[in-house]
Structures are given as C-alpha cells and as structure tokens.
C-alpha cells in the first residue's frame, strides 16, 4: 500500500536539490498526503537541501515512513558534515543568515512541518530531522 521510498539521496551539486524534491514528492504522494501538505513537505525539503549545499557543500537526505498508533507520517533526515550551526536559537530567528540567503530556510521549514529537531556540532556537521503527520484517515 505504501510506495517504496528511496533509501537516500546524495546532495553534491545544485541540481541534486531537484532530485531531493522529486524523491520527497513521490514519497509524500505515495503516503497519501493531500496536495497542500505535499507542497509544504517539498518546499521544506528544498530549503533544507539548499542549506546543505550552501553551507556544507554536500550531504545526504533520507526519507522514512513513520507509524504511530493509527497515524502515518513522513520523516526526512538531512545530514551534512559541514561547519555546523554555531547558535541554533539564532539560526531559528526569521531573517537571520550567515550567508546571503533570506534567512527563512530553517524557521520556514519548521513552520511547514509538524516537528523539527536539530543536532549540530561546530566543525562536525548538522543533522536536521523533520516530520509531517498525515491528517485524517
């Protein structure tokens, strides 16, 4: 019933951001998310994937199906071995950026998804996990 998910998508170049969006789109549609949630998930994935490309250079995106009681969800794990986020609270402030972006990526992705968890260590890398639960049955 649930479409098979790609194990992981490697992020090495700008064009891989499109590959991530397509993989995530397939996964979200396969899990039966509505069109607006599919768009939210794709957009959040795009922001997180672009951050990896901009700040770490390369990384990986993994999709996982979540099950809890009677709910189905999609989890995305975006991981890199880049410089890490020095101050996560600051990075979550809309408009804050250390690059030349809009500073909307992280706080925006959090608003679009249901849950977000950031693990980051300076010099070691960043792992961001986001989850979206399918509404209704």
């Amino acid at each position: 019933m649930i479409a098979s998910l790609p194990e992981e998508v490697a992020l090495r170049t700008e064009t891989d951001i499109v590959v991530v969006r397509r993989a995530v789109r397939e996964a979200a549609i396969g899990l039966g998310f509505g069109i607006t949630d599919v768009t939210r998930i794709i957009t959040a994935a795009s922001e997180l994937a672009r951050n990896v490309f901009l700040y770490a250079g390369s990384g990986v995106v993994r999709c996982r199906v979540l099950n809890r009681s009677d709910q189905v969800g999609l989890e995305l794990i975006v991981e890199d071995h880049g410089p890490g986020i020095a101050d996560i609270n600051q990075a979550m402030q809309p408009g804050y950026t250390t690059g030349n972006g809009l500073g909307l990526g992280l706080p925006g992705a959090k608003r679009l998804m249901d849950e977000m968890e950031i693990e980051s260590e300076a010099g070691k890398g960043t792992k961001i996990t986001v989850k979206k639960w399918r509404k209704g049955t």
Binding site: E14, T15, I17, V18, R21, R22, R25, I35, T36, V38, T39, R40, I42, T43, S46, E47, R50, P94, G101, L102, L104, G105, P107, G108, A109, R111, L112
Partner: protein, 125 residues
C-alpha cells in the same frame, strides 16, 4: 537529468514567460537573463510570468522572481505574476516569503487586462 526549459513568447507587446513545473536553480537563474534580454530585443512593455504549472516555490525561486521584477522595472516594464496554485500560495505564506512589489493576477487573461488598462491610462492626457 531532464532539461526543463522555460518558454518566452511575445503576444502583442507583452512577453509571456511560462515556468516549468520543477525548475532547478540554473533554470531559475537563467530566467532572469532570458527575460531581460527578451525585453530589450522585443521592446515589450511588460512581462507576464506564468507559474500555473509550478508545483513548489522555495525561497531561492521567490527571491529570483522579486529581483527579476525589479530589474524589468528598471528597464521600464511591468511584471505580473500569474496562476499561482492555492497549495503554493499557502506554502510560501507559511514559509514567510514575500515577492517584493511583484503584482499578481489570477491568470494570464487578467494580467493582460491589467497591462492594457495601464497603457490606456498612460495615453490619456
């Protein structure tokens, strides 16, 4: 890798730019240059940027659209963004994106009405 191309056609004195469903960053960046070059070559008075086929619009795409609008404005043209899907509209609002001063219309037809009304007003003494 499928090459998603961008189409630009001139209808009367307006450039109609149709964005592909899921353009990569290079295609989005190319948009800016192609539109500005087409403006110069065709002496168009405005640009209609149709995003009705676009499935998702992230911060990079939105920023490029806002910048393109400003650049077309500097050249003396107006840009109208048309056909944004409801799901995209909801998503970019929650993401916190704005499109700068980009004007919008429900569809290409409405955009033509706006651009043509504008020129009529300009012609009136």
């Amino acid at each position: 890798m499928t090459e998603e191309t961008l189409s630009i056609i001139k209808v009367r004195d307006i450039l109609v730019v149709t964005m592909p469903a899921d353009p990569d960053d290079a295609t989005i960046s190319a948009l800016q240059q192609k539109v500005l070059l087409a403006m110069e070559r065709s002496t168009a008075k405005g640009v209609v940027l149709d995003v009705s086929g676009v499935e998702s619009l992230d911060s990079f795409f939105a920023r490029t659209i806002a910048e393109t609008t400003r650049m077309v404005g500097l050249m003396g043209g107006r840009t109208i963004l048309t056909g944004m899907r409801p799901s995209v509209s909801i998503t970019i609002t929650q993401l916190g994106l704005t499109l700068g001063k980009t004007r919008t219309a429900l569809n290409v037809d409405r955009a033509f009405d706006i651009l043509q009304d504008g020129s009529r007003q300009v012609q009136k003494p």
